[in-house]
């Protein structure tokens, strides 16, 4: 991630199919939030959006999970976008795992 890229925080629900995004955090302390953390939605993990819809399918590590929009909205993710004036294509945060 270069200094000229801004970081936009979205939730998993806002991402589209094909995206590889990094998890920033899971919102809240509900039972489902805890379950999301247990299966690996921790800061630094990479999630790939396989199928967008409601429910959506994501790939976490080597496993696929399906979850509804409400659950996906609990997961904060980050992608980087170029600032205006730059021609670089949309970049993703580097894998950390």
């Amino acid at each position: 991630m270069t200094a000229s890229d801004a970081v936009l925080e979205l939730t998993l629900r806002d991402c589209v199919a094909g995206d590889d995004v990094a998890v920033v955090d899971v919102i809240g302390d509900s039972a489902v939030a805890a379950r999301l953390r247990e299966i690996g939605m921790v800061p630094g993990a990479t999630v790939r959006i396989v199928h967008h819809g409601n429910p959506m399918i994501v790939q976490l590590g080597n496993t696929r999970f399906c979850l509804r929009g409400n659950e996906a909205a609990l997961v904060l993710t980050a992608i980087s976008i170029p600032l205006p004036g730059q021609k670089t294509a949309c970049k993703r945060l580097p894998n950390e795992a």
Binding site: L36, C66, L67, A97
Partner: protein, 731 residues
């Protein structure tokens, strides 16, 4: 130290890692399935033969973590903590880890490492890991974890021998190596210490010393299973202290976030030191298959086609076997009847027991085929996709796609279906699912449907020969249950069981070829359970029904017919004599039946069932089937074997020839339809009602289920009868 004859090993692991496959490989056919007292979660235990002696192995349900939220997971946590009634303390934990999903699987392992029980890790799916280019340095991995690790391939029986040795060694050594587990921030550790002290001070009231890992769960899982149990035992004593400690930690972030962060940090350390993974995950066969199967359009079509195909296969595939069984039992009846002296005993054995049990066994092939398909779909991984497709519809009714799997199981039998609701965390959703589960036409209704359809619905080909009218009617009956269940669930979630639509988070396991052994074992156990029910409950009811139809035997009637038989002996030819005697036998039986207790009860309810097009015999047979649905077939069998036609005609023929008083045929298409619709919607299974009681722990819900479904069934039967009459179906 207690001396027990056998050690106990518990198998745990994430869902879909091959736990049950490994359990089957270790225990073979020595496994027995039962229930934990008070809950409907299955208890599967088997025997593991070791070099010296044997051990009991318990197959526990899959769990991602010991933070228990559904009844399933609570059993796992309780068994490991030694808090599960009816279960021995665990001497060793065998945790099955999927080598292709190490990080997530190690989460559970990190929790287990904090227990005092020795652990053995079975690293399964090594072949798939290699294919995914995940290379594990087993020595380093074992060293980092601090517990024995055995690579296995459960579905190919590879590594099992070595696993048995390691298990035996671990049981004998009795202690576990201590390698430091996840490291927690100091404030969490200190609050935990404080809570632990408080709990130890209450040890007398609790009756035991709470171990550290349980205190951890009490602290971190807000409003969770561990907390509820302890607070209830202490009458709320420690609640405020707990809240205080949590709020002090709250500034650092959600408690479960802290736990997850620490555990995954530990996991990443281990992975970094011993595992080589590719940077990107390759597109697998499962991915490609999913493109078609989870696509809204093609996925839905494939799903419907699969379901339709299953039903057609049931109907056609079982027919030849059914024919054989029918003829066999007819022959047995003939033989036994001629061999025993005539009288009450003869009638009891032939018309009661043999006819009764036979007309139920004839439908075992269909039950087995349905169970087979469901087991195949589950084992190959498709079921989760079906739940995914169904979630949209389910969430509109206030449930989630997870509720689909128990409801689908209910199509084989509502009892395992209700047991399968143990995966649903929220109680209200679980009860709603349980209450609509009996609407899914179970295999006990299949005898009723197939007999009446075979006897009265013509097999006109439809859709250019792809399906027949009979198959379509069968499908229609199944769809009826579904069509009624959806608004019922919606209504329940809006009124009696009001609550939010549950969250939906489900793993989609990789597709795999279904393992024959797993599937066949499942079908075997379901078939066995049905047979045992057929053998015992139905035999008992068949005898009672026979008795109600046989007694009281008026001696006047018998004398009257004996006199007529005497005069028949004076007839010239043997043929004439035989014909007259046969006719006299039939007439006598018929008259006895009309005087029986059965007839009296039937007549009593006749006014209630006449609007449905029934007569007293159908009404009585329906009442007799309330303890167990499939009994109506055996009851009708007994009824019509006993009455007008006592020759060895096939069952279907007797039905077709049955007549009302006055000569009109008893079973017309509208009547057949009204019976089938009644059975589709009515909750007549005593065993199901008992199961509902066990799971909801009150008699209110089973009573409610019985009442609402009977009302629905009556209304439905009446409606279809009127429609069929008006439309002139069946001429």
């Amino acid at each position: 130290m207690q001396k027990r004859s056998h050690s106990t090993i518990a198998i745990v692991g994430n869902p879909n890692v091959g736990k049950s496959t490994l359990f089957n490989a270790l225990t073979g056919l020595s496994q027995i399935t039962g229930n934990y007292p008070g809950v409907t979660v299955e208890r599967k235990v088997g025997k593991l033969r070791l070099r010296e002696g044997a051990a009991h192995i318990i197959d526990l349900p899959g769990a991602y973590s010991l933070a228990a939220r559904s009844p399933d997971e609570m059993i796992v946590a309780d068994v490991l903590l030694g808090q599960q009634a009816g279960e021995n303390p665990i001497d060793c934990v065998l945790v099955v880890v999927d080598a292709t999903n190490l990080e997530r699987n190690l989460y559970l392992v990190s929790q287990l490492c904090e227990f005092d029980i020795p652990i053995v890790v079975a690293l399964n799916m090594m072949d798939l890991a290699e294919r995914a280019q995940v290379f594990i340095d087993l020595d380093a991995f074992q060293r980092e974890l601090g517990v024995p690790v055995v690579p296995v391939q459960a579905n190919k029986n590879a590594g099992i021998a070595r696993l048995k040795d390691v298990l035996e060694e671990t049981l004998r050594a009795g202690r576990r190596s201590r390698k430091p587990g996840p490291v927690y921030p100091p404030d969490l550790a200190s609050e935990l210490d404080g809570l632990l002290d408080a709990l130890h001070r209450h040890a007398l009231q609790l009756g035991r010393r709470i171990p550290r890992i349980e205190a951890f769960r009490i602290l971190v899982d807000q409003g969770g299973h561990a907390e509820k149990r302890v607070i209830r035992a202490l009458d709320g004593a420690l609640q405020s202290e707990l809240t205080l400690r949590r709020s002090r930690l709250g500034a650092a972030g959600a408690l479960s976030a802290i736990e997850a962060r620490c555990r995954y940090a530990w996991i990443r350390g281990i992975i970094a030191a011993s595992v080589q993974k590719p940077a990107r995950h390759a597109v697998t066969f499962s991915d490609r298959l999913d493109k078609a199967l989870t696509n809204r359009f093609t996925g839905g079509i494939i799903f419907l086609a699969l379901m339709a195909g299953v039903f057609q296969a049931i109907y056609n595939g079982a027919a030849p076997v059914m024919f054989v069984i029918d003829r066999t039992f007819a022959a047995i009846s003939q033989f036994v009847s001629s061999w025993l002296p005539s009288g009450a005993m003869n009638s009891l054995i032939v018309d009661g027991v043999i006819a009764g049990v036979g007309s139920v066994l004839i439908f075992l092939p269909q039950i087995l085929i349905l169970s087979l398909f469901i087991a195949l779909l589950e084992d190959c991984g498709y079921m989760a996709r079906a739940a995914f497709i169904m979630d949209r519809l389910f969430s509109k009714c206030g449930l989630s796609g997870q509720c689909f799997i128990p409801l689908l199981s209910s199509f084989a039998c509502a009892i395992p279906g209700i047991m399968a609701t143990r995966i649903i965390p929220e109680r209200r959703d679980r009860i709603t699912t349980i209450l609509v589960a009996p609407l899914m036409s179970c295999s006990a209704r299949l005898p009723v449907y197939t007999v009446l359809i075979a006897a009265f619905i013509p097999n006109t080909p439809l859709v250019g020969g792809l399906m027949g009218l009979q198959g379509v009617t069968l499908l229609g009956l199944y769809l009826l249950g579904i069509a009624v269940a959806a608004p019922t669930a919606w209504l329940l979630k809006r009124t009696l069981l009001r609550g939010e639509t549950p969250p939906f988070l489900l793993e989609l396991p990789a597709y795999k070829t279904p393992q024959l052994r797993t599937v066949l074992l499942r079908v075997w156990s379901q078939g066995l359970e049905f047979l045992l029910r057929a053998g015992t409950v139905i035999c008992a009811i068949s005898i009672i029904v026979w008795a109600l139809g046989y007694f009281p035997r008026s001696s006047e009637v018998r004398d009257k017919y004996d006199a007529m038989r005497m005069s028949a002996a004076a007839l010239p030819t043997a043929d004439e004599r035989e014909a007259v005697l046969a006719r006299l036998d039939r007439a006598e039986n018929s008259e006895h039946l009309h005087n029986s207790y059965f007839a009296r009860m039937g007549h009593a309810i006749e006014p209630f069932v006449r609007p449905l097009g029934w007569d007293w015999r159908i009404g009585m047979a329906t009442l007799a089937s309330f303890p167990a649905r499939e009994v109506i077939v055996s009851t009708l069998g007994t009824l019509f074997n006993l009455s007008d036609d006592a020759e060895e005609t096939g069952f279907l023929d007797s039905l077709r020839r049955a007549q009302r008083t006055g000569g009109a045929p008893l079973f017309t298409v509208p009547v057949a339809l009204s019976i089938m619709v009644f059975f589709a919607l009515c909750c007549q299974c005593g065993a199901t009602l008992v199961m509902i009681y066990r799971e909801t722990k009150t008699w209110r819900w089973p009573t409610f289920a019985f009442v609402y479904m009977t009302a629905l069934a009556y209304a439905g039967a009446w409606i279809i009868y009127r429609i069929a009459l008006a439309a002139g179906w069946g001429g």
